[in-house]
Subunit: 160 residues, 2 copies
Amino acid sequence: MVDPHTGAPGLHAALVRHTGYLLSRLGWFASRRFSERLQSLDLTPRMWGALNVLAAGSPVSQQQLGRSIGMDPSSMVGTIDELESLGLVERRPNPSDRRAHALYLTQAGRERLATGRIEAKQAQEELLAPLSGPERAQLHELLLRVAQGIDATDPEAVKD
Amino acid sequence: MVDPHTGAPGLHAALVRHTGYLLSRLGWFASRRFSERLQSLDLTPRMWGALNVLAAGSPVSQQQLGRSIGMDPSSMVGTIDELESLGLVERRPNPSDRRAHALYLTQAGRERLATGRIEAKQAQEELLAPLSGPERAQLHELLLRVAQGIDATDPEAVKD
DNA sequence: CTCAGATCGTTTGTAGCACAAACTATTTTG
DNA sequence: CAAAATAGTTTGTGCTACAAACGATCTGAG
């Protein structure tokens, strides 16, 4: 009845009418499937998020990183520990604030990220298979607008 | 920096480019916010899903219900226990299969559901505030197509 | 300059949920 | 009838979110 690999879909007609439900259910699938792909890279979704943010720009503190990917500080510790033990991320002292760490992506981290992006591309292709190119763009744009609405509700959300 | 009520958005530019990420993040918010609303009704999202499916039609077994809302059998037990102790759902014997229960929605259950639907309506309005009417319809339709794609990948998913 | 309060990373503890395994009672199948 | 499958349940494990507290450090008011 349910493929143990992909998990139970659970798309009952009575629930699928609600956009919010569809959103949360699909989000669950998307992250679950992607997380399976990441396993081959010894990465968890949290680690993946961290690598992406770190690759994006200047070094950040653990708290900034945590806010960016919606993870609380106490959970950050272990995640960064893992990334550091894999040699993908470096904790360096922050010269201007000795409380904070400055997180850096290593060369190995950059390479792992590049490999992961191939997986991400495939996962996205698989997920959005039912949609045409323009439809995918439109879906993305609509989701983005909804996301911005949430940010607006949520003051000071993405300042860092 | 982050409103403790709504939770950390975490919509970093580096991640927001991926539709899959947007989907899972937005899904997380949607369910979180709705779950806060449900607290005033003494319901959890799981219970809410169960009530909806039960209201939709003929009595189902716990396993059928579980599959419909993506919850495994062992977690179903406690959920139904709660619903039953609240007087919202009834476990009756299934005459044609003495292993299985036939789950029924009580009158109180129907009333609670009706109240919840008002909350759901408001939550959806709040979530989709940035979108116009036609845009909301389009978003829903696109999500539905993606969901159907997942079902297709996932054999025998929603048979029950 | 001082000192009270805030912030950063960290540790610890609690609670909820997903998942797997095992068990009984029953049904189905060969 | 015997063997395998299924429904509900119990139990245990592991992960994650969340809250609270702590030392070290920074900041700002006076």
